[in-house]
């Protein structure tokens, strides 16, 4: 099993969700996060007072999948989240040791 953690632009969420559903992903967890990478921040000006905003709003998706789904999920996710502009985000893949569906007690791939 793998955990795919993706940082994406907030307005891309619907496209990403649709693309992942098409490749067989049945669930995900989404969180509103702030951060920066190469995009850096931007400057906001309020009546002449300039503030550097270093942390930009992004969404963090956590998607647990079976290992054999990985390539399809990565491709679909990257394609759907991409705009070609700086700040599109990143995808990280982590190994998952165990999974349990709390209601039924099913484990591992059956629990996804």
């Amino acid at each position: 099993m793998k955990m795919v953690v993706a940082i994406i632009k907030p307005f891309k969420l619907d496209e990403v969700r649709e693309a992942l559903t098409r490749v067989g992903v049945h669930g995900m967890t989404v969180g509103e996060v702030k951060g920066y990478g190469r995009q850096k921040g931007h400057t906001e000006i309020y009546r002449g007072a300039e503030y550097a905003v270093n942390f930009l709003p992004k969404l963090r998706l956590e998607i647990a999948i079976a290992s054999d789904q990985l390539n399809r999920v990565m491709e679909a996710l990257a394609a759907a989240a991409r705009t070609g502009q700086i700040g599109d985000g990143k995808i990280f893949v982590l190994p998952v040791e165990q999974a349990v569906r709390i209601r039924t007690g099913e484990t591992d791939v059956d629990a996804l």
Partner: protein, 437 residues
């Protein structure tokens, strides 16, 4: 061209004014005047709650939104009671040069059909509450300069002392029969009494309290400018009652004042937006609403004395000087006037009071006693500009010195400023035990 328009209009207005029952001699309550002034009173109260409450609260950080609204609310209920108890009487009765009388203390003797010699066609009770709404917003305006750090108990004391020792005397001097009005200073709806007064007091308060924690280093960006936009809309509409109502009757001068008010607000918003776009690269929403309020504050003293095209000129100048004051002067001098009470209202009130002396069109203020009305510099009366500068100087000096003394006295009684940790936590929680989630 403008002169020709002015002359043409002057004939029309003069005719209309003379025909108006509002100018009839002696006191007789007029239904139309009373109806308009009741509406205008409601409009001006709406400027503070919720107008100013939203305008200010939208510009502070999330942790200080409720505390900022609490100041507008507290100014409303506290000033209202003080006004009825003694403020109105001291400001608007008698003909003393410096202060009124105690004849109307506790509104004593204000029967249903009493009429004030200062507003001869409406019930005195209506004149009293109309003027009350002006006192409320002036006090509430000041608080914006020290938003995010003024202790609530200190604010309540400030409302009390400042109303009675600063607002009441100046209102009396200009409008209540005192020496400034008698000398010939013109201030239709509060360039000196309201805006310059509040702006100077705000500047002094910002100096006495010191800057917000993190000023110049932390991000102090507004929490929710949508609130500020809604607040600006309410202020803008309410200003029709503020300036239109200052004609004290349902007449053509009130209508002309409303036209001037609206056009100056529009010109101010447009100018600020254009300047910001040009110098900073983007036309911000905060810039547009700041320009609108700058235009509104600046036209206030001139509103019943100028024609629409002069009002547009005043609005353009207002947008320019207030933009300069908020984006350059403040940073250069280094005071932390949180919500630009001085930059918008102080500078606007100063500019508008002066410009009223430049642009005044005599025909708008014709009375049987003054057949030519009040004429400004452009009508060949440079003396009026000097007179306006006199009014500005007196207001500036009294407001500045008295505000400083009042704050020092309050500071000796209770701390003016919240504790550091309370400021970091936010005034919503530390002062009021509430918070936005």
């Amino acid at each position: 061209m403008i002169r020709a328009f002015a002359r043409l209009a002057s004939t029309t207005i003069a005719t209309a004014l003379i025909a108006s029952p509002a100018l009839a001699q002696g006191g007789k309550i007029d239904g139309a005047d009373t109806a308009w002034m009741i509406s205008a009173t409601a409009l001006v109260l709406m400027m503070t709650i919720p107008g100013l409450a939203l305008f200010y609260a939208g510009m502070v950080r999330k942790k200080n939104v409720l505390a900022t609204m609490a100041q507008s609310l507290a100014a409303t209920f506290l000033v209202s009671i003080l006004w009825a108890v003694v403020g109105y009487s001291l400001a608007f009765t008698g003909d003393g040069a410096f202060i009124g009388t105690l004849d109307r203390m506790f509104l004593n003797g204000m029967g249903m059909d009493e009429i004030s010699p200062l507003a001869k066609t409406i019930p005195e009770s209506l004149f009293m509450i109309y003027q009350m709404t002006f006192a409320i917003i002036t006090v509430a305006l000041v608080a914006g300069s020290v938003a995010d750090r003024l202790r609530f108990s200190a604010f309540l004391l400030f409302c009390t002392f400042w109303l009675l020792l600063v607002y009441v005397p100046i209102a009396h001097w200009v409008w209540g029969g005192g020496f400034l009005g008698a000398a010939g200073v013109i201030d239709f709806a509060g360039g000196t009494v309201v805006h310059l007064n509040a702006g100077v007091a705000g500047l002094v308060a910002a100096y006495v309290l010191g800057a917000r924690r993190g000023y110049g280093s932390d991000n102090l960006a507004p929490y929710d400018l949508t609130l500020a936009v809604i607040g600006t809309g309410l202020l803008w509409v309410g200003w029709f009652g503020f300036n239109g109502g200052s004609a004290l009757g349902a007449n053509s001068r009130a209508a002309m004042a409303i036209v001037s008010t609206h056009l100056a607000a529009s010109a101010g918003a447009f100018t600020w937006m254009a300047l910001e776009w040009w110098t900073r690269g983007k036309p911000s929403v905060l810039g547009m609403i700041s320009g609108a309020v700058a235009g509104l504050g600046t036209i206030t003293p001139a509103s019943g004395f100028v024609m629409p095209m002069q009002a547009i000129a005043i609005g353009i100048i207002a947008g320019g000087v207030c933009f300069w004051a908020c984006t350059w002067l403040k940073l250069k001098v280094g005071y932390d006037d949180s919500l630009d009470v001085f930059g918008v209202h102080g500078v606007g009130g100063f500019t508008g009071t002066l410009l009223a002396g430049v642009f005044a069109v005599g025909a708008l203020s014709v009375t049987p006693e003054m057949p030519n009305g009040v004429q400004g510099l452009l009508e060949g009366n440079p003396q009026q500009v000097v007179m306006q500068a006199y009014g500005i100087a007196v207001t500036l000096l009294w407001s500045g010195v008295m505000t400083f003394i009042i704050l020092k006295v309050i500071g000796a009684l209770v701390a003016l400023r919240v504790r550091n940790e309370d400021e970091v936590m936010g005034l919503d929680v530390s002062m009021h035990g509430e918070a936005l989630q």
